[in-house]
Symmetry: C2
Subunit: 380 residues, 2 copies
């Protein structure tokens, strides 16, 4: 169900527009291949400048019930007070990241006379930015959109790269396009609205950035326990992802390294989403398991030293705990692997590590080694 | 409902591969901005060369019940015999050009292990090429596709330009992306499978090409009554559309001229599709009405001479007959205008003619003149 609420930003003052932001460390904007990621104090300024420059016929803000309640008021305080915007609300949760929800949003945009010169601002976590980006990219063959990630996961992962899309049944992100937003605003104030478990989930992607590109960064990250003051680390993570994506936007080669932990992680996440019998696993929690298992595969097949395998395993198990798999779970998880978008010609390709910071792409894994990886994880 | 049939092209011989094509006039391939349109004898050669060059993991052919029966056998005769392909069948008709059908095809591709290196060949009319192009462009964020239009309308309209998409309820092509196929094959042999009424419908787009770009071509076209031997005219139409699209692929300015007749035509088509009480109007039949009305607007607002208005009106009314509108129909049709993708900021922009062959874009029309245009048409 979509509820429509009409807000008029002009009712809200612009006081405090900079006062909050000024207390923070200033971080330079990161220019991606086609658009910019703005941080904190620069972010609202960039948005307001953009809205002054481009005359949109209508502006829509996509939220869920949580970001409407927790993030929208903060957003109103700082956005250009003269613009009126319409709020489109969808129900939160990965389970709603599907074509049915897209249909609801497309119909709502249509009912409210959105046209080709309308703008969609996606204010929320990865479900909102992925789904909203897809809806905007396909509505009347593409309207402008801006992403304002409000979760740690969305800030360090969805904010750069242009991947949009939704799930197809239990299969994640099967339907989508690569398309760039007009800009991305990373406003770390929103993290105060995110639950600790969700912060930990997002942190898994940051740990991944260390593992695939930056061993010293990994050393810093693995010791982080306080999630206040993450700003500079978030900036570093966006930088790493951006450097990778700029070199290979359509994932022909280098960009594949961002999938470390995701080949098994996605299958585990899909399986937990699909089977009613398991507790829901957050994305970061699933890829944390995936990274332990793929580190094990790296130890067995590529050159990852045993002490680094132990370091990775301990770091993740201490931080995320352990998930139990039954004997029945494992073959069902493996059967989901073939749907991973990274695969082609019936082969399953993994990203492995030669060392922390040194990834290797397109490694094929014999099925018995996959079983061993599950055994390794469960024996921790 | 999607039925899956597995065919193995290798069971079919390659005899006659060139014998038919050699009887035709050879026409040069038209190179578009990003891909080529191949005609007749060149077309199968180009497809076979492509399939030899690129190793696709799987090849799917999207058909409906008509093109499976009428076009697929012809296709098999000429396609590379060593490739196996899987057939995905959807139910024919504009009414099925929607997201539900996309979901069926996405799920079928997924069930049959399509991956990023798979190819979708769209064999059919505009519904198949538009919907298939959208499905391919969004499956796993985009797989290769090839269009083989089998109707006149699809050959001269859908074959160039990269517009893909589906309808949203009664609103045509509201959901889609601009994305280019690997190649387009125009094989006029397929026209022998098309009913006369459908040929006339497609011919309306060719008449439009004359009106917007080429007065001598219009003079030739308006006298055509025999639809055998259209090959060179089809080639000319593809050329005209291509010249326009190359200069403005994303429809910022020049490409808008292709919408002549479509602003009112689309609204009329949508209305007839939506209201159960009217006979279904084919696309070309609807834009034929739209072109008469927009020619009238051109006479009133721009510089179209009266004798040219009469020429246009007579040509379309003689060819397509007249459609009756009741007093209740007209306001409902006008209310659909605002959804046209060409519109923004609440204004409705028309493409009009200063003369046959000389279009003018972005003309705004007062509502009372729209009523007059309906009156003009109904009084013919």
């Amino acid at each position: 169900m979509i509820k429509i609420n009409l807000y008029f930003a002009s009712r809200l003052g612009r006081a405090n527009r900079f006062s909050k932001a000024m207390q923070r460390t200033d971080m330079h904007s990161i220019i991606t291949s086609e658009y910019a990621v703005y941080f904190d104090m620069d972010a609202y300024q960039a948005l307001n400048d953009h809205l002054d420059k481009i005359t949109y016929s209508k502006i829509f803000v996509l939220v869920d019930e949580n970001t409407r309640k927790n993030c929208l008021p903060l957003f109103w305080q700082s956005v250009n007070g003269s613009k009126s915007m319409q709020i489109v609300e969808i129900v939160s949760g990965e389970i709603h990241k599907n074509i049915e929800t897209c249909l609801q949003v497309w119909n709502t945009l249509s009912d409210f006379d959105a046209d080709r010169k309308s703008l969609l601002i996606n204010l929320g976590g990865g479900v909102i930015t992925d789904l909203g980006g897809f809806v905007a990219s396909t509505f009347k063959r593409g309207i402008d959109f801006i992403n304002i990630p409000t979760t740690l996961l969305a800030m360090v992962d969805a904010s750069v790269g242009g991947k949009t899309g939704v799930d197809l049944g239990p299969l994640k992100n099967q339907i989508g396009v690569i398309n760039q937003p007009e800009m991305v605003l990373v406003i770390t104030d929103f993290l105060s609205t995110v639950e600790p478990r969700q912060l930990q989930s997002g942190f898994a992607e940051m740990l991944k950035h260390g593992l695939i590109q930056d061993a010293p960064y990994w050393e810093v990250l693995k010791k982080v326990s306080d999630f206040n003051g993450l700003d500079e680390l978030i900036h570093r993570s966006v930088q790493i992802k951006n450097q990778v994506v700029i070199q290979d936007p359509t994932e022909q080669h280098l960009r594949k390294i961002l999938n470390f932990g995701h080949t098994l992680g996605h299958a585990i996440e899909s399986y937990f989403l699909e089977s009613g019998s398991h507790e829901l696993l957050l994305h970061g929690e699933a890829i944390a398991i995936g990274m332990v298992m793929e580190a094990y595969l790296s130890f067995r097949l590529t050159e990852l030293p045993e002490d680094q395998l132990t370091d990775i395993t301990d770091s993740f198990v201490n931080r995320y705990g352990k998930v139990e798999f039954s004997k029945e779970d494992i073959p069902q998880i493996l059967s989901l692997l073939k749907f991973d978008k990274k695969n082609s010609h019936g082969n399953i390709n993994f990203v492995l590590l030669d060392a922390i910071g040194s990834p290797r792409i397109d490694v094929q894994i014999p099925e018995n080694l996959l079983m061993e990886a599950f055994t390794y994880y469960t024996e921790q």
